[in-house]
Symmetry: C2
Subunit: 294 residues, 2 copies
């Protein structure tokens, strides 16, 4: 079985490396960034394809790890696209995009005699490299069974949520709540700093009380130390909260915390901080940092 | 040593029961609710005092567990107050109030030849009964040493944070972040319900990803099942977020998540839901519940 990858940023590249390590043949790669794709192709001995059609032609299973809804639609419906002569191929779509887009892509794949599976990842670069991703899948059960052996190599937790679009809904909610908790933590530590409290002590107290959270563990120290090396960017956080808010709007729900969180991440983008890690939101809430004042 | 209690709602009453169980003599009680204080006095064999002065007269150490800043100021400075003939007495103040109020009370106690210690509790009724409170103290170190044996009977974690007011700052931050996480969780589960997702599955996914938090464990299932029996009321949540926001305003910090959270809890109060547990905030975010629509 030959494997292709579309989108070989840090996530996609690490997934390709992991599969290669586990004895799979990663054969065809595509990325709009030519330098990135050329480097990875050399590293793992795969082809950096000039077109999307070439990726499909040279692989049986194609992972897509693109940035947003527009990119997902493009790779499956532009003049050059992945569904050219795609009969029998399996597409495993890992980007965090709107649930509707997964449904659209599945229909397009069906029409081309191919299969599409959404495999939403609730983890980051390190987990991709180590094969310990948290994966939630949606789509046809047959596509899931076919993808399962590969996905097991990539994940420590693998679940089948339901039909196409369902996993993306769960993923959007995970990231919406994670982003809220992150923005809230930044406010707590920022105010702690303004009050002159020992932030190491404060984080310890948070961790033992009702203020405890996963993001306290992953982002608390980074917020204190201004270490915003990017695992999950502020721009991605804004996008993902936006996906959830669109779903909420359609459902007629008012979610003021999610809205305030998206606005904070948009403030980061506007201030040129969108490429920082999501922990960089602390730059907005700590005194004497960027834009701390009203 | 005789012990007095002012404010014998569920927290105060459970602390008194716990100390009684551990062999201490709880002798004098006061509460503005006569029925409550009479019942507890009968139960534990203490006196339900008609005045605050009587509480002090009959005890060496007096715990105060009142509702807010105004109540704290009253019991230490009204015509009838705890500092009448209070020389040598120790006051242990457990209410979540503004840091400034603890400083004021300490000064008043000093002037009366008494000692005051703030002992902020980051836990609830059950922990009070079992002696497993999370306690953070602020004030003079001598007052802390004197209170320590008693406080150890009440707590599983006991810390000395610093001078008077410091523990209240930490407590305000803990509750501010806890309230944000709670409001955010209610939005995530509410939107999940609107999207027709299995909420038990969704909570499991939250628990294994970046959406995990202490409030997910304590309040998630209750939000799903509309079980809002009160451990920590929405009205208290609004008050505590308000304390933190006042500190933030003074420091010139903009905390949009904390503000949005306080507004949600105020919406609950306005809708007559202020006595529900903080988990009741889900009533605002789930479809087809109270005020779900904009």
């Amino acid at each position: 079985m030959n494997i292709g990858f579309v989108g070989v940023g840090r996530m996609g590249a690490n997934m390709a490396r992991r599969l290669q390590d586990r004895g799979y043949h990663v054969t065809t790669l595509f990325d709009t960034n030519r330098a990135t794709v050329t480097a990875l192709a050399q590293e793992i001995g795969a082809a950096a394809c000039p077109t999307l059609g070439d990726v499909t032609a040279g692989a049986d299973v194609i992972f897509t790890v693109v940035s947003d809804d527009a990119a997902m639609r493009q790779i499956f419906s532009d003049t050059d696209n992945l569904l050219i002569s795609a009969e029998g191929k399996l597409f495993i779509n890992c980007a965090t995009v709107s649930p509707d887009v997964h449904v659209e892509v599945e229909q397009l794949a069906d029409a081309a005699g191919a299969q599409a599976l959404e495999a939403c990842m609730a983890s980051s670069i390190t987990q991709a490299r180590e094969g310990s991703l948290y994966l939630m899948c949606g789509g046809g059960e047959e596509a899931f069974r076919r993808a399962e052996p590969l996905l097991k190599e990539l994940s420590s937790s693998l679940g089948f949520v339901g039909k196409s679009g369902e996993a993306a809904k769960v993923k959007a909610l995970v990231n919406m709540v994670m982003n809220i908790n992150t923005a809230g933590l930044a406010e707590g530590l920022g105010l702690g700093a303004a009050l002159g409290l020992d932030l190491t002590m404060l984080r310890e107290v948070f961790g033992q009380t009702g203020a405890a959270s996963r993001v306290l563990q992953t982002d608390g120290e980074d917020m204190q130390n201004r270490d915003h090396a990017t695992f999950f960017s502020a721009a991605h956080a804004a996008k993902d909260s936006g996906i959830a808010l669109t779903l909420a709007e359609r459902a007629g729900l008012n979610l003021p915390l999610a809205r305030a969180t998206k606005q904070q991440y948009e403030r980061m983008i506007a201030a040129g901080l969108g490429d920082l890690d999501k922990s960089g939101i602390a730059e907005l809430t700590f005194p004497d940092r960027h834009q701390a004042k009203r």
